[in-house]
Amino acid sequence: MTGAPVLEAAPPPVWPMYRALVGVGLLCGLLIVSVFELTRPVIERNRAEALRRAIFEVLPGSESVATFRALGDAGFEPLAGEPGGARLVHAGFDSDGHLVGVALEASGMGYQDVIRLLYGYSFEREAVIGIRVLESRETPGLGDKIETDPDFLANFESLDVSLDAEGARILHPIEAVKRGAKEHPWQIDGITGATISSAAIADMLRRSTATWISRIHRNRADFQRGA
């Protein structure tokens, strides 16, 4: 108890510290909640608008969109209310009301972080007919070319995912090859300097199409406009 001679002043009063921390904390909390509430409708509208734009982009020719929900193990039903965690499939229709195709989300690990993208599938051509990256943190100038490189994006104008005779499996799984080495319609020409990012896109498309395309194809009749 002897220790060094007590030269410091008495311990600082607790009440002012408590008052400052709790007071500032309350004010900050209030500010965050108000800004969150104010911006939420705008942010949600932005998100919905971005998704809508992406759907029209990956399903060229469509004029209207309807969203469907995957049922337990078989078909699809029109989405009413909240998705509730179910897998969503967006169907695009042209001006005559014919089904152009469906758009699905796929995601997978990229070079930096998870990449999320939307891809369009055409029943007639049995092919992926467009992709649009929804979220990625790939290296600017290198990995982010998956969103900007026109040669790379041209791969997805018609990427073959046709099913085998029984309609159960994809005949030729999607694969990434070195730039310029593409020989078959199911191959993706990679990007020089963004090998991992372009392979990641091929990988997530391969996995997602393997799971979903045969199921969507079997239940094509479920996708009716205004059902």
């Binding site: 400052a20 911006t39 942010i43 100038g141």
Partner: protein, 218 residues
């Protein structure tokens, strides 16, 4: 308590101007290096990051300056961080509301404004000791200086590393971009280049000033 604070000086433009050049946060004080190096790979990102930082710096300086008599010394850092983090969260929501694309481009770096030592540095070194008006000018000057510095890093890196400025192509097809400039190491190279320019300029100024006084004395 009030006696320990400096007298309320009249507003001087110096509080604003010092951040632009003489005490530029990036090139002279070498503060806030993490965002300065990480987000300066394109002119657009650098500018957006600079403006976001400017807003947080201004708002937190204002709040901290007006609370300076209310917050005890012992809990000041915790309070500053709380205030700064709040405004960073606000900026995050506002950017999402303005443009999702911009938010996508800046990604994780918006939240990292919290740990930008420039902001905590100004709170501790200036706003907590000066009245509201001066703190606002100080924040504006430092913020504009930071934005300008980030922009000069971002522009050089984007031009050399990608051959573009604000996404517009500057060179003809044959230009081979220096990919290294966009990668993290390019940030260090560019920073070194700018620091060299700033130091040469400063040295020359001191020499001119020295000879000026010598001539005047003789």
């Amino acid at each position: 308590m009030a006696g320990t604070l400096p007298p309320e000086a009249p507003l001087g433009t110096d509080e604003f101007l010092k951040g632009l050049w003489r005490e530029n946060p990036v090139f002279v004080q070498v503060l806030g290096m993490c965002p300065a190096l990480a987000v300066s790979n394109s002119a657009r990102n650098a500018l957006a990051m600079g403006l976001a930082t400017l807003f947080v710096l201004l708002m937190s300086n204002l709040v901290i300056s007006s609370l300076r008599r209310f917050v005890p010394r012992e809990v000041r850092i915790a309070t500053y961080i709380l205030v700064i983090a709040t405004f960073v969260t606000v900026v995050d929501y506002v950017i999402q509301a303005i443009s999702l694309d911009l938010h996508k481009a800046l990604g994780a770096f918006i939240s990292l404004i919290v740990v930008n030592c420039l902001i905590l540095g100004r709170a501790e070194a200036f706003a907590s000791k000066h009245p509201l008006g001066q703190s606002a000018l100080d924040a504006l000057g430092m913020g504009v200086g930071f934005t300008a510095a980030l922009f000069s890093l971002g522009a050089v890196r984007e031009i050399l590393g990608n051959g573009t400025l604000f996404g517009l192509s500057l060179f003809h097809e044959g230009f081979q971009p220096w990919v290294v400039m966009i990668l993290p190491s390019g940030g260090f190279f560019t920073l070194a280049g700018w620091l060299l320019v700033f130091n040469v300029a400063r040295e020359r100024r001191t020499r001119v000033a020295a000879t000026g006084t010598a001539e005047a004395a003789s």
